[in-house]
C-alpha cells in the first residue's frame, strides 16, 4: 500500500507491506541511521520523531505513518555541521559502538524541545527505554545536559553551529596546502 507522509521536511510516498513495520520501510528506503536492536518496541535504537514525539519505528506499523511528520537522525546535522546534540555527544565521548546513539539523540531532541533545561533526573527518565550497552548512561546524560546549555532554548535547527570544546569541524583550522604538480 502507498503511504504518504512528511519525512525530514519533504513530502514522501512509500510503498509498504500491510504488516510492515516503519523501521523496515525506513531502512529499505535508505534511512539506515534508524537501527533495529530488539524485535519490537523495546530498546529505543529505532527512535524517530513522529509529529515531534519520540517513538520506536520498530513498534509502529508503516501504515500508521500516513499523514504524519516524521523526523529521523538523517534530518539533523551533517558530519561537517553537527547539530548541538550530536556535537555534545562527540565532545563528551558519549559514543562508543554508536548503535543506540541515533535513537538516543532523537529522544534527547524531543526532551529538549519540551524541556529546554532538564535536570539530570529528567534526562535519565527521558532515556529510560534507550538501551546502551557500551557507555552505561553516565556520558550520554552529561552530553544531553550540555546540549541543553549549548542550545539555550533554541531548538538547534539546522544551521545552528555548536560550540565544540575540543575536536570541532574537521576542516576548521586544517587547510591542507594546495597540491599541484
Amino acid at each position: 500500500m502507498e503511504i504518504e507522509f512528511t519525512l525530514n521536511d519533504e513530502r514522501t510516498t512509500f510503498d509498504a507491506g500491510a504488516d510492515e513495520l516503519l523501521v523496515t520501510a525506513l531502512r529499505r528506503e535508505g534511512y539506515t541511521g534508524v537501527q533495529c536492536g530488539c524485535d519490537g518496541g523495546v530498546c529505543g535504537a529505532s527512535k524517530v520523531l513522529v509529529d515531534g514525539e519520540a517513538r520506536m519505528a520498530c513498534g509502529m506499523d508503516a501504515a500508521d505513518a500516513g499523514g504524519t511528520e516524521i523526523e529521523t537522525i538523517e534530518a539533523l546535522g551533517s558530519q561537517d555541521d553537527l547539530h548541538p546534540i550530536q556535537q555534545a555527544f562527540v565532545d563528551h565521548f558519549a559514543v562508543q559502538c554508536g548503535f543506540c546513539i541515533p535513537g538516543m539523540i532523537m529522544q534527547a531532541k524531543e526532551l529538549l524541545a519540551a524541556n529546554p533545561d532538564p535536570s539530570e533526573r529528567e534526562v535519565r527518565e527521558a532515556i529510560d527505554d534507550n538501551v546502551c550497552r557500551c557507555t552505561g548512561y553516565q556520558k550520554p546524560v552529561e552530553a544531553i545536559l550540555d546540549a541543553a546549555e549549548r542550545m539555550d532554548g533554541d531548538d538547534g535547527a539546522s544551521g545552528q553551529r555548536s560550540v565544540a570544546t575540543d575536536g570541532g569541524n574537521p576542516t576548521d583550522g586544517h587547510e591542507r596546502g594546495d597540491f599541484d604538480e
Partner: protein, 812 residues
C-alpha cells in the same frame, strides 16, 4: 597437566609445571624500553590527548555502516532463519522440509544431512590455533544438547518468508534424559552429553562420564600445611554468580556471498576476523586465502562476538542458494542460542593468623559451560589467574576448577572473562575475614597486595597468561586513596531514619593485558603524495575507539595531525594479521604493532628529509607535519616528502612502514571500586547512592575514551550484581526473550558512576599504556556485597543482590 596440553588462559605452548626458577631471569625488573616510548606529558602531541573519536561523526549522524546496513548493496540478497531444537537433549530422527522447499520465495533449505551442510566438528570459540577449546559441535546438529541447538536453516527472499518456512519444518526426535544443574551434571549417574568420540581436540582434565569438559589446577607452596598450622584460622565462604547476557544492541549479524573469483566473503559483526577466516576455511574445506572476512562498524561485542556463531550458517546457505545471504539472529535467539557469561559457584578458603597474615589462599570454581565447551577451560582458568595475583605476597596459593556440561545454552567469552566470578569470591571473602578479625578491610588488603618489583608467580601457577610476570607498574595505592576521597569514605553520614543504614564497601581487581605469549598484531602504513597516510591494522574496533587509539599512536610517532591519517582495520584481504579484539589486548598488542609500523615509516621519512634538507639524519625529527632539524631550524613539510618520494627526480620509492608485535608480557591493570549504599533494615530495600571506580591503566592513550570504557564496564558490573541474568524453565528454555524481560538496570535505575584514571607508566606498552576495558567489569558485585555487609551486617553471597535476600538474611 602434560607438556603439550593447552594453557588454561588461551595459550597453547609449554606448561606451568615446567616453569622453573631460572625462568625468573626472564622477567627482569628493568625493561629495555625504547627512548621514544617514555615521553613527559607536555611532550606528547597526540597520545593522552582527548582526540575526537575517529568514527564519531558518522556514528552520531547515522551514516556509519553496520553489517545489516550493507543489505541495500545486494539486490538479490536472501534472508536466513534457523530451526532450533525444542527439546533439551536428544537425537533428531527425521526432518520434514517438503512444505518449506515448495514455498514461493524459498531459495535453500539445509539440514545436517544436506550435501551443502559442513559436517566437520569445530568450536565456536574465536581463539588462536590450535584452540584451547574442544571441537564438539557441528553447524547443524543431529545430536541436540539444549533447547535452541541449530538443526536446520532456510534462505528465502525476505525475513517473513524465511521465518514462515521455518515454521513449516517438522522435526522428530528420540528424546534423552537431560540435566540442567551443574552439580547434578557432575555425578557419574547423570545423563551424559558427550562420549569421547564426539569430541576432537579434547581438553585437559576431560571426563565425559561425569560431563566434565575440563579440570584445571595449580598450586604454589603448600596450602594444606598452612591450614594445619596452630596459629592460623581457616575461613571458608562460597559465592554464586548469574548467567549474564552480552545483550549487544546489534544482534549477531553476518552477510555472506561468493565473489567473481569464487572467493567467499563475509561481512560480519565479529571481534575475530582472522580466527573466523581460519575456522570457515576448516569447516568448508577451502584454503584460507579463499575466504575474506571484513568487519564494518560493530554494535557491541563484549566477548559475545569472539565466537563464530552465525557466519557458517550464512555462508552455507549462500552457497546452497547461489546468492548473497544475510543472517541476523532474532533477539529471542540472542538470549537462547548465542552466548552468555558462565554462571559459577566459587568457594574461597584461607588460612589467616590472628595478626591478619594470610598464610594460604584458595579458590575452587565449578563452572557451568552449558551444552558445548567453547571458552570453558580458559574462562575458568581466569577465575584464579586474574584476581588471585593481586595478593602476590601470600606464600601458599591454590586454584582448581571443574568445568561441566549441562543441557543449557552455550556460554562463551564475556568481558572480564572469569575474573568477575573470581573477584567476587576473593574480594567478598577477604572482606568477611577482615571483619571476623576486626581488621580494617583496606589495610588488611594493603598488607598483602602486589607492588612494583614483585614477581607475580600466581599468574603463572597454571601455566597460563603471564606465566610468571614482573610487576613494572602498579597504581593500587593511588587508586584506593583517590577512590576513598571521591566516595567520601571518611565522612559518611547516616540517614536520620533509624531503620535506614548507609555503608561503603570496596573491592580491588586486577586483569591482564593480552594473553602472554599468545597474541599477534600486525600493522602497515603507507605515505601518500600529499603527506597524508593510510594506516592498515588487523586490530578490531568493536566500538571501543581502538581505531582512534591506533591513529593517535601513529600520529605521535610521525609528528602529524591525526586527521592526516586514514585508517582501515579488520579486513582479512586488506589488513595485516591480528588475533582480534579480546583479552584486553587491542591497544597493547595491535597498538604496539602500529607504533612499530609508524617508526618504520618514519625512518624512511627522515631519510628523505635528510636528502631534501641536506642535513644529517641524526639531527632530524618530525613534529607538526614537518621534518625539522634541531641544529639549524631548517624544515621540510611531510607533504613535500610525500611528493618527492613518489614524483621526485631520483631514487623514487613508496614510503611504507610495517610492524608486528607479540610478547610474553601481560601487565595487569588495577582497579579500586567503592560502592555507597543505603539499606532499609526493615524491608531490605536498598539504594546505591554512588559507584566510584579508580583504574590504573598505565598511560591512557585517549582519556575521554578510556573513561567511557571504565564507566561502561562498571555499569555492566553493576548489572552483574543486581540483575537476575538469563533464567530458564525446567527444560532449559530461556525465560527471557527480549530486553524488557532481561530487565537490566536502565538509565533511571542506575546509580551515578564516577571514573578516575590513575596514570602510571607501563614500560612494555605503547607510550606506557596497558589495558582498561575489562578490569572495571569485575568489581561491583563484591563492593556492593561488602557495602550491604557494612550497612546492615548481613552477607549476600549469591548474586543478584536483592531486597528479598537482604530481608531474609536480616530475619535469620
Amino acid at each position: 597437566m602434560s607438556e603439550n596440553d593447552p594453557k588454561p588462559d588461551g595459550g597453547t605452548a609449554s606448561q606451568s609445571s615446567s616453569v622453573e626458577r631460572e625462568a625468573l631471569d626472564d622477567h627482569p625488573l628493568e625493561w629495555d624500553e625504547p627512548e621514544n616510548n617514555r615521553k613527559a606529558d607536555d611532550e606528547r602531541q597526540s597520545v593522552s590527548r582527548p582526540a575526537e573519536k575517529d568514527d564519531d561523526r558518522k556514528l552520531v549522524t547515522g551514516e556509519a555502516k553496520y553489517t545489516a546496513d550493507y543489505e541495500e548493496q545486494f539486490p538479490d540478497l536472501a534472508h536466513a532463519a534457523v530451526v532450533r531444537s525444542e527439546i533439551p537433549h536428544g537425537r533428531v530422527t527425521a526432518i520434514d522440509t517438503d512444505a518449506a522447499e515448495s514455498m514461493d520465495g524459498v531459495h535453500a533449505v539445509l539440514t545436517p544431512w544436506s550435501d551443502g551442510c559442513p559436517d566437520a566438528k569445530y568450536t565456536s570459540a574465536g581463539q588462536s590455533y590450535p584452540e584451547p577449546s574442544p571441537w564438539d559441535m557441528n553447524v547443524l546438529n543431529e545430536h541436540v544438547r539444549y533447547v535452541g541447538d541449530p538443526i536446520a536453516a532456510v534462505a528465502a527472499e525476505d525475513d517473513e518468508t524465511a521465518t514462515a518456512a521455518v515454521e513449516t519444518i517438522g522435526v522428530e526426535y528420540e528424546e534423552y534424559e537431560y540435566v540442567l544443574d551443574p552439580e547434578e551434571a557432575f555425578s557419574e549417574d547423570a545423563p551424559q552429553l558427550f562420549a569421547d568420540e564426539d569430541v576432537e581436540n579434547e581438553i585437559v582434565g576431560h571426563d565425559y562420564d561425569r560431563n566434565r569438559m575440563s579440570n584445571i589446577e595449580g598450586e604454589l607452596g603448600d596450602v594444606a600445611a598452612a591450614y594445619d598450622r596452630e596459629d592460623t584460622h581457616v575461613h571458608e565462604t562460597e559465592w554464586s554468580t548469574i548467567r549474564q547476557s552480552h545483550a549487544q544492541v546489534e544482534k549477531h549479524t553476518s552477510l555472506a556471498y561468493t565473489d567473481e573469483d569464487d572467493r567467499h566473503v563475509l561481512i560480519t559483526s565479529t571481534q575475530v576476523p582472522n580466527h573466523t577466516r581460519r575456522q570457515l576455511a576448516h569447516l568448508f574445506d577451502v584454503p584460507v586465502r579463499d575466504v575474506r572476512v571484513t568487519k564494518p562498524r560493530v554494535g557491541g561485542g563484549f566477548g559475545g562476538k569472539q565466537a563464530m556463531v552465525v557466519e557458517p550458517i550464512a555462508l552455507a546457505l549462500s552457497l546452497a542458494a547461489d546468492r548473497p545471504v544475510i543472517y541476523e539472529a532474532s533477539r529471542a535467539e540472542e538470549f537462547q542460542a548465542m552466548r552468555s557469561r558462565h554462571p559459577m559457584r566459587v568457594r574461597a578458603r584461607s588460612a589467616v593468623t590472628d595478626d591478619g597474615d594470610i598464610e594460604a589462599l584458595e579458590l575452587y570454581a565449578l563452572s557451568n559451560t552449558g551444552a558445548y565447551g567453547s571458552h570453558g577451560m580458559t574462562v575458568a582458568g581466569n577465575v584464579g589467574s586474574k584476581p588471585m595475583p593481586l595478593y602476590s605476597k601470600v606464600p601458599n596459593v591454590r586454584f582448581e576448577a571443574d568445568i561441566v556440561h549441562t543441557n543449557t545454552p552455550q556460554t562463551g567469552a564475556m568481558r572480564g572473562y572469569g575474573a568477575p566470578q573470581g573477584t567476587i569470591a576473593l574480594e567478598g571473602h577477604l572482606d568477611e575475614v577482615a571483619r571476623d578479625l576486626d581488621l580494617d578491610p583496606i589495610e588488611f588488603r594493603r598488607d598483602h597486595y602486589m607492588e612494583v618489583g614483585d614477581l607475580d608467580e600466581i599468574a603463572g601457577m597454571m601455566g597460563g597468561e603471564g606465566a610468571e610476570r614482573r610487576i613494572r607498574s602498579c597504581g593500587l595505592d593511588d587508586c584506593i586513596e583517590r577512590g576513598k576521597e571521591a566516595i567520601g569514605y571518611d565522612e559518611i553520614e547516616q540517614p536520620e531514619a533509624e531503620h535506614r543504614h548507609r555503608g561503603i564497601g570496596m573491592a580491588l581487581s586486577a586483569q591482564g593485558t593480552g594473553v602472554a605469549g599468545d597474541e599477534l598484531g600486525g600493522a602497515q602504513i603507507m605515505m601518500n603524495e600529499d603527506g597524508s597516510f593510510h594506516l592498515q591494522v588487523g586490530g578490531v574496533d568493536i566500538g571501543t575507539g581502538a581505531d582512534t587509539a591506533f591513529i593517535q599512536i601513529a600520529a605521535e610517532v610521525l609528528g602529524c595531525d591525526e586527521r592526516d591519517i586514514v585508517i582501515k582495520t579488520s579486513d582479512t584481504d586488506n589488513t595485516p594479521f591480528d588475533y582480534g579484539a579480546y583479552a584486553s589486548s587491542t591497544t597493547y598488542i595491535s597498538g604496539m604493532a602500529v607504533k612499530k609500523a609508524a617508526e618504520d615509516a618514519k625512518e624512511r621519512i627522515l631519510d628523505w628529509g635528510s636528502r631534501l634538507l641536506d642535513e644529517p639524519v641524526e639531527d632530524l625529527d618530525t613534529a607538526d607535519g614537518e621534518v625539522y632539524s634541531e641544529a639549524t631550524g631548517e624544515s621540510v613539510s611531510l607533504e613535500d616528502v610525500g611528493y618527492e618520494s613518489v614524483y621526485g627526480d631520483e631514487d623514487r620509492e613508496h614510503i611504507l612502514g610495517k610492524g608486528s608485535h607479540s610478547t610474553d608480557e601481560s601487565p595487569p591493570p588495577f582497579a579500586a571500586q567503592f560502592a555507597d549504599v543505603t539499606v532499609d533494615a526493615e524491608t531490605g530495600e536498598f539504594e546505591v547512592n554512588k559507584l566510584v571506580v579508580a583504574v590504573d591503566c598505565g598511560v591512557a592513550i585517549n582519556p575521554g575514551m578510556a573513561e567511557g570504557q571504565v564507566e561502561g564496564a562498571n555499569h555492566m558490573s553493576y548489572e552483574l550484581a543486581v540483575n537476575e541474568g538469563i533464567t530458564f524453565d525446567d527444560e532449559g528454555r530461556a525465560e527471557v526473550a527480549d530486553f524488557d524481560e532481561y530487565d537490566f538496570p536502565t538509565a533511571a535505575e542506575s546509580p551515578p558512576i564516577e571514573s578516575i584514571l590513575v596514570e602510571t607508566h607501563e614500560p612494555t606498552g605503547p607510550f606506557g599504556a596497558k589495558s582498561v576495558a575489562e578490569v572495571p567489569t569485575n568489581t561491583v558485585p563484591p563492593a556492593l556485597s561488602n557495602a550491604v555487609r557494612e550497612a546492615v551486617g548481613v552477607r549476600i553471597d549469591e548474586m543478584p543482590i536483592t531486597a528479598a535476600k537482604i530481608r531474609s538474611r536480616l530475619d535469620e
